[in-house]
Symmetry: C2
Subunit: 451 residues, 2 copies
């Protein structure tokens, strides 16, 4: 494609999609530049384990340079992309630098959204970055500490109430993990309070949790949550978040908002695509984005009429074989990454035929509720309980294995399983030394999308 | 001692001294309250391993509540002590609460000092807290990232220059670890720079490194540092720190200051005691503190005429058998903790005889320079090289073993040893996403003493 000089592929975003695309180009005759704001790839599905003190950030993150060390045609660039010039074929970085490309791959993912209530962000942090996770860990652990010192029973109850908003996999996992933290790990740690008295409330807008799964699995999950002592409020929306309460409202015309006194709210609802998607769609021209801001892509993951521009992962919206949009999950992102890497590599070898369209191979999905409690479904086969949990464990460790952390994580989990311990229960960060002070916002720079 | 109600022992500080004192009271007929600003005990001697990406904070920290979970007479209180009322026998906390005591044990340790140049703190962070360590990790790793993107050779050289101030054990360990990071771990990670070109400079004001050790061991350490490619400037003082350079001046009357261009300075010099020491000494009255602010204590670690007030660990200054002040090292703190716990327990059993004075049992000291390079001395026996390193490793793992992290740490070290990897190379924190921006200060709340 390019003339004398080597073809330059610029990949923005080192998540599942971008990293797999880069790996697919390992042997291609091109120069690959992977740009990310962070120096590590993060295994987001286990972030809730960091937020609840079971794992350390380094257990679920691996330096991008380390992963791509031996891929000599690939360069990792730490920087924040702020714009595109598709005429000049460059991306611009926040520090003013421009990076030229022959082929552009954009995979900057998604973050959570507060549905227009961005003022809730400080009071109800989401769970997308390592900093989010350590901030949530700080808040949850500090709530117990403050409760231990609180003489007023009402205030103590409020401090021991934890509200998780959103009943998808992340919300269910967070609620389950907080329950285990309170009822198992911390059960002997305090003197004035009994952590087992904690209330954990999961608020979900739909009529069931894990709405993307089969109804039977939702029912199993609901039952498992109840067994863990978690109150689940279905058909319920959050209509207000204050420093000392959350207001929820049932999804009925005659419903009135009810206040749940709490100081610890975790946001696991809503998806918003990285702002770079809209920016790129506008630059290409005539390319629609959907409500969460995802870019509509062609069957080969290119955008509009630009065969040199790819968008993939959570940032893309693509129609699956069943006519429905593909879900924003890690397997789609990984497979799209593999696919796009292959498409570019084939082109560079001189293959001029149009590529076969991307086809998502749905190997199934799974979610865990707690120790030995999970759901999994694949090709009509549905699993629950210990077997589903072991499958979940196996697949997650298999994935992490690629990043050298396998044995560590396995050990730490085994340790937690048998001792009900969570060794990484550290209250760290700026406000760590003053747990009695009100919650501080996650630094604004951290809450935004990766890219 | 106390009347009907149970005797209340308040221990301030959950470091080596305070924690050991608390443990010594496990079976004593009293109520123990351990107050710390942080929710975890930190194994400070390995903090440099966090600062250089080899270990995660949770590997070297254990929640105080978890350690003392089964000690039913002991209560952990997360709070910051701000003052003492020795008449009313209470300590006051920052949030306004007061905690009554019958016996007070103060062990809030020490931090580094800039010898009157507190303005250097932002540019040359020290290594006392978990936040210090992750901040230094961020700076060191970011320097390589910025160098990779820096076109100007002079600026690149400056970014690849790391200055460690202080040639005691911490400084020597930091310099050695940075050298291994640059020359081993990162050697294949970059494309535009060669991390092996890094300059690591250790500045020491005395005529030798590891001044507390025998001269032969200092000579071995100096040689080992040279072999790791570290430039050692002896007899040299830092006279200025700016954002882009450090000014050092030889210890000769005719010397002129020389500038070392660098953007990464790590402070491992100077000791300043927690401010609570002076506060308590003044409250007791007539009790001297030395220049670093340590409290002069009686042979039984009590203060002045108060037999109910103990000061120990790095906060205390006590004369050893050789007439010299005991060194501010972990073994002294641990032994004083054991001792004071025993003294209080004996009193509570009705023992009214004056306690035998505290006697430090010097089991020896050790410092590591790098993988398989260390020095150790005990009772005139001096070890260097692999044997000293294995001894160092063994003793540190033995200690960590008490906090359940043993196998994890052992595994991670073994892994690092054979792969020269450092898995925890994460750039995290507020400024993590903008590595190109100038260094930010460690949050002021974090740089102060623990207590």
């Amino acid at each position: 494609m390019a003339g004398g000089a080597q073809h330059r592929v610029v990949i923005v975003g080192g998540g599942f999609a971008g990293l797999n695309a880069a790996r697919g180009l390992a042997k291609a005759p091109c120069r690959v530049t992977l740009i990310d704001r962070r120096n590590f790839h993060l295994f987001q599905p286990l972030l809730y384990q960091v937020a609840t003190g079971a794992l350390s950030p380094a257990n679920i993150a691996a330096p991008l340079r380390s992963i791509l060390r031996r891929q000599r045609n690939t360069n990792v660039l730490l920087g924040e992309v702020t714009g595109f010039d598709l005429g000049a074929k460059t991306v611009s970085l926040r520090d003013g630098a421009t990076v030229p490309f022959d082929t552009l791959v954009l995979a900057t993912g998604a973050t959570h959204t507060y549905f227009g209530h961005d003022d809730w962000a400080d009071l109800a942090p989401g769970l997308k970055t390592v900093e989010d996770a350590t901030e949530i860990r700080r808040r949850v652990l500090s709530a117990f500490e403050r409760a231990e010192r609180e003489p007023d029973p009402k205030a103590r109850e409020r401090l021991l109430t934890f509200v998780v908003v959103g009943g998808g996999p992340t919300g269910v996992e967070m609620a389950g993990a907080i329950s285990e933290l309170a009822r198992q790990t911390l059960r002997n740690d305090f003197r004035a309070i009994n952590p087992r008295d904690s209330r954990i409330i999961l608020v979900e807008g739909q009529t069931r949790v894990l709405g993307a799964f089969h109804e039977k699995l939702s029912a199993y999950a609901l039952n498992a949550l109840h067994k863990l002592g978690i109150e689940v409020r279905l058909d319920c929306h959050v209509v207000g978040v204050q420093a000392d309460q959350v207001e929820v409202k049932a999804d009925r015309p005659d419903a009135v908002a009810a206040a749940i006194p709490t100081e610890t709210v975790i946001w696991a609802a809503g998806v918003k695509a990285s702002g770079l998607g809209k920016l790129l769609a506008d630059a290409v021209g005539g390319v629609p984005t959907d409500r969460p801001g995802r870019v509509t892509v062609n069957p080969d993951c290119t955008v509009g009429s630009r065969s040199d521009v790819f968008v993939l992962g959570d940032l893309a919206v693509q129609t699956g074989a069943d006519g429905k949009p593909l879900p924003g999950v890690a397997p789609v992102a990984m497979q799209q990454g593999d696919y796009v890497g292959g498409v570019i590599a084939a082109r560079l070898k001189g293959d001029t035929s149009p590529p076969r369209p991307f086809k998502y191979w749905d190997k199934g999905s799974m979610a865990t509720i707690g120790m030995a409690k999970a759901v999994a479904e694949t090709n009509g086969l549905r699993l629950t309980g210990v077997l589903a949990w072991l499958a979940w464990l196996f697949i997650h460790i298999l994935y992490l294995a690629r990043f050298e952390n396998r044995v560590l994580v396995l050990w730490q989990w085994a340790f937690n399983y048998f001792t009900r311990n969570r060794a990484a229960r550290l209250i760290t960060g700026e406000n760590a030394a003053n747990p009695a002070e009100p919650h501080r916002a996650v630094p604004p720079g951290e809450a935004v999308v990766k890219g």
